[in-house]
């Protein structure tokens, strides 16, 4: 499992997460430069590279954002090295400006861009379908269904990238990225890292005006040749059962479709597409020629359905095509085996052996009164304290809170239900600028340190330059917490623990032109209220920095240093049940004793941040003594 198998020199079998298999594939392909910004569901690619990097000589960085990460790979691939970057769907939006241009200029060394969409928006702000980036940028796109295919496709992608001088997009989705399976490892045969000479004529990677027009003609030709190659590629597979009913699918859709066929006991012909841009039109035409009925199984947008429908116009106008347009499948949310089995059964006029609706209805009945357990701030999370102090400081003050992407996004959930807008990384600043133009209320923008470095700085430049009346509160917890506490530009180390130059938030902001900077410690939850209140009362733009390390990160460091993490307990005889530690607080470590209705702290969960202890009006929360 994990990094130990990823670094294994020789061949063999290993149980790997798809994201780990992608890393193994890149290492087998002798990748030399890796740069990425974390984002679920791709984070484990970055984390695995980072963990194994001390054992190899590839260059790696955790970049400030996805655009920088992609450009870093682009630059290294221009020179001639093999590179990889990975990003979540919405990260591609950030990187896409240069992604389009790199398709025009091309690259020399193999460049693979892994992009993972998130159907169901498990950890994303939208259900964006990134498959449009392939055709829109004329970048070849591969889609694996499982870890074995992912590893194989990474290697195929490097070969393709170098053969045609173009970056290759590998598109996955959450249920592919976060699928583990048994993968065949091939030997690692790595050459020593070596800088290469720049061999290109001037202007080789410049695309604008006439250069862009020349590149465009060339990339159309390139795409045609790649399409010809894909027509015969073994990354696409046809299972011809002789049936006049067929399924066309790819990625996660294939997994569910194949399972649904097992469930329904049917054996349709299946075309599984691994190359989803450019599509192998002739292969698709040949496949549907023999069919009376074809079902398209794909999550999100009807991308394959659109193309199959267009191809069928000439190839087989009488074939009946079922998918989203016929209402058998939805463009919303992710699929699973039973959704796909139900959809296929509906087309065929049969029923699955299990009445899924009835099972779900019965389950709902059994679960009556079972409380939801949504993600929430961890015990010890400094955000809980900052938000408490911020709400105290703004009590009675009408204001609008433009928040941003990070753990603190969860402030919009219960119990706080606090926050008025959340669009995308760094958007709090631009939105706040608009809010202060239009709204009568005080405007507050809220962002974490990692998101500040990622995409908030241009918005702050804008707000300073235009003298916007707003307050930016930066929750500085030292790391990119939500994705697993990766170091950000504020830290003195980067991927694999390599030394890095730390940037100091207040110095950067001061240099940008703001001198009104207030720094508070959220763990001093009561003492932080007045400085926050005063800062908010002054004319903006000004900045509040609430600084305290992510509790998970701090605990990990404490354990490394051999320090124990203390816990608190409630002194029952002192507790008068004001529930200050519960209402508006929602710490997973605190519950109510069913018998005496007093607060109770679970020893195994408490982090001893002492924030609840400071808030308790009776002082009933105290350090737990040994064995207490």
């Amino acid at each position: 499992m994990g990094a130990a198998d990823v670094v294994r020199e020789g061949a063999g079998k290993a149980f790997l997460l798809c994201n780990e298999a992608i890393v193994r594939g890149a290492l087998e392909a002798d990748v030399k430069v890796v740069s990425a910004y974390p984002g679920s569901p791709t984070t484990e690619i970055l984390d695995t590279f980072s963990e194994v990097s001390p054992k190899f000589d590839f260059k790696m960085e955790i970049s400030a954002n996805e655009k920088v990460a992609l450009e870093t790979c682009g630059g290294a691939s221009m020179v001639g090295l093999r590179t990889m970057t990975s990003m979540k769907s919405v990260g591609m939006n950030v990187a896409s400006d240069s992604f389009f241009s790199l398709s025009y200029t091309g690259v020399k060394g193999g460049m693979v861009v892994v992009m993972a969409d998130d159907p169901h928006a498990h950890s994303s702000q939208t259900e964006q379908d990134g498959r449009s980036f392939g055709p829109n940028a004329y970048v070849p796109m591969l889609e694996p269904s499982n870890p074995t295919e992912a590893k194989r496709m990474v290697k195929a992608a490097y070969a393709l990238s170098e053969k045609y001088g173009v970056p290759v997009l590998m598109r996955t989705t959450t249920r592919v990225s976060h699928q583990s399976g048994i993968v065949d490892l091939e030997p690692l045969d790595r050459k020593p890292f070596q800088k290469l000479p720049w061999t290109h004529p001037p202007g080789r990677f410049v695309t604008v005006a006439e250069a862009a027009r020349t590149f465009k003609h060339a990339l159309l030709e390139r795409t045609k040749r790649i399409q010809e190659e894909f027509e015969a590629s073994d990354l696409n597979t046809v299972t011809d059962t002789g049936s006049d009913f067929g399924i066309i699918t790819s990625g996660a859709g294939y997994n569910y479709a194949a399972e649904a066929c097992r469930i329904l006991g049917i054996k349709p012909s299946i075309l599984k597409l691994g190359t989803t841009y450019p599509l192998p039109n002739k292969l698709i035409a040949g496949f549907i020629k023999k069919l009376k009925t074809v079902i398209i199984v794909e999550e999100l947008q009807p991308y394959l359905e659109l193309h199959v429908t267009a191809i069928a116009k000439d190839a087989n106008p009488s074939v009946r095509i079922y998918g989203k347009w016929t209402g058998h499948f939805s463009e919303a949310l992710e699929y699973n085996p039973n959704i796909v089995a139900d959809g296929i059964a509906k087309v065929l006029g049969t029923r699955p052996p299990v009445d899924y609706g009835a099972v779900l209805a019965k389950a709902a009945e059994l679960k009556a009164g079972l409380m939801e357990r949504p993600p929430t701030f961890c015990p010890g999370c400094p955000h809980r304290a900052t938000l408490h102090a911020l709400q105290e400081a703004t009590r009675g003050t009408k204001h609008i809170l433009a928040t941003d992407i990070g753990c603190y996004s969860m402030s919009f959930l219960k119990p706080l239900e606090y926050g008025d807008s959340l669009l995308s990384m760094g958007a709090c600043m631009g939105v706040a600028a608009g809010l202060q133009y239009a709204a009568q209320e005080k405007v507050i923008a809220m962002v974490g340190d990692s998101t500040f470095w990622h995409a908030t700085m241009p918005g702050l430049v804008n707000a300073i330059h235009h003298n916007d009346d707003l307050t930016l509160i930066i929750l500085d917890n030292e790391v990119t917490a939500m994705t697993g506490q990766q170091p950000d530009p504020g830290r003195d180390y980067n991927a694999g623990g390599q030394p890095a130059k730390p940037l100091v938030l207040e110095k950067v902001i001061e240099a940008m032109g703001i001198s009104d900077i207030t720094i508070v410690d959220p763990y001093q939850v009561k003492a932080a209220v007045v400085p926050i209140k005063q800062a908010l009362s002054r004319k903006g733009p000004n900045v509040i920095i609430s600084r305290r390390a992510c509790a998970l990160y701090a605990d990990r460091n404490k354990r490394k240093r051999g320090e124990t993490i203390g816990t608190n307990k409630v002194e029952k005889e002192v507790c008068k049940r004001p529930y200050t530690c519960i209402r508006g607080f929602y710490c997973p470590a605190i519950s109510v004793d069913d018998d005496d209705r007093k607060a109770f702290i679970t020893k195994e969960l408490c982090d001893r941040c002492d924030v609840c202890a400071k808030l308790c009006p009776f002082g009933s929360i105290r350090p737990r003594q040994e064995g207490g």
Binding site: R175, Y256, K362, I582
Partner: protein, 213 residues
């Protein structure tokens, strides 16, 4: 040896070591030449929220997600999280659940308003689950984990219990070797002890209702 199919739904609360548990089983399968795949949850959902891993063993399984009504067993590190995914259990499937509940913060908040409300208990959960299966074993994994040496081994206690099932197609020695390879070196001994304690507990709590090895 013809491989049998076995799908198990693992659930718990973020931070309980569910992904490590599935990795131990998956690596054991890789070493024993048994096919296994998982559908896991990483990211936002981990933050003290409900989490799950779909684990599927067998030569023909393709979907990383178990179909509704398709799990041979639910193994849960928190009783509430066994009930939360009950739709995945096939009728008469096995439920192995920890005798422990981390009360959801939303439920706790409701308790500050309603002075008589009781938390949903392990007994409540068991009572409800009996409507879909009579094969329910409740194991005090926290107690056994502490007995093994650290409360952090609850997940491996539950694995020890699972390993006794005749229908669970992963050999015990492969599981133990996988524990040795997947937990930190200094924690190997306590984890192997936790495994054995879980196994022993299952003999009393599980093997009287389900066919064991």
């Amino acid at each position: 040896m013809p491989e049998k199919e076995f799908s198990i739904y693992l659930s718990g609360v973020g931070g309980q070591g569910l992904v490590l548990l599935s990795n131990i089983i998956g690596s054991a399968c890789a070493a024993a030449g048994i096919r296994a795949i998982t559908g896991e949850q990483h990211g936002l959902s981990q933050r003290s929220g409900s989490i799950n891993v779909h684990l599927r063993i067998g030569p023909e399984v393709i979907s990383p997600l178990i179909p509704v009504g398709g799990a041979d067993a639910i193994l849960s590190l928190d009783s509430l999280e066994a009930l939360r995914y009950v739709e995945y259990l096939r009728p008469g499937g096995v439920v192995l659940m920890n005798d422990r509940i981390q009360h959801p913060t939303i439920e706790t908040a409701a308790h500050t308003k309603d002075k008589v409300a009781k938390y949903m208990s392990v007994e409540d959960v068991k009572e409800r689950l009996t409507k879909v299966t009579d094969k329910i074993a409740v194991i005090d994994a926290m107690k056994l984990a502490a007995e093994a040496g650290t409360s952090l081994t609850e997940n491996v206690v539950m694995l020890g219990a699972l390993s006794t099932l005749e229908a669970f197609p992963v050999p015990e020695d492969a599981l133990k070797r996988s524990i040795e390879e997947n937990v930190p070196k200094k924690a190997v001994e306590v984890n192997l002890k936790a495994f054995d304690l879980g196994k022993k507990a299952a003999h009393d709590l599980l093997c009287n209702i389900v066919k064991c090895r």
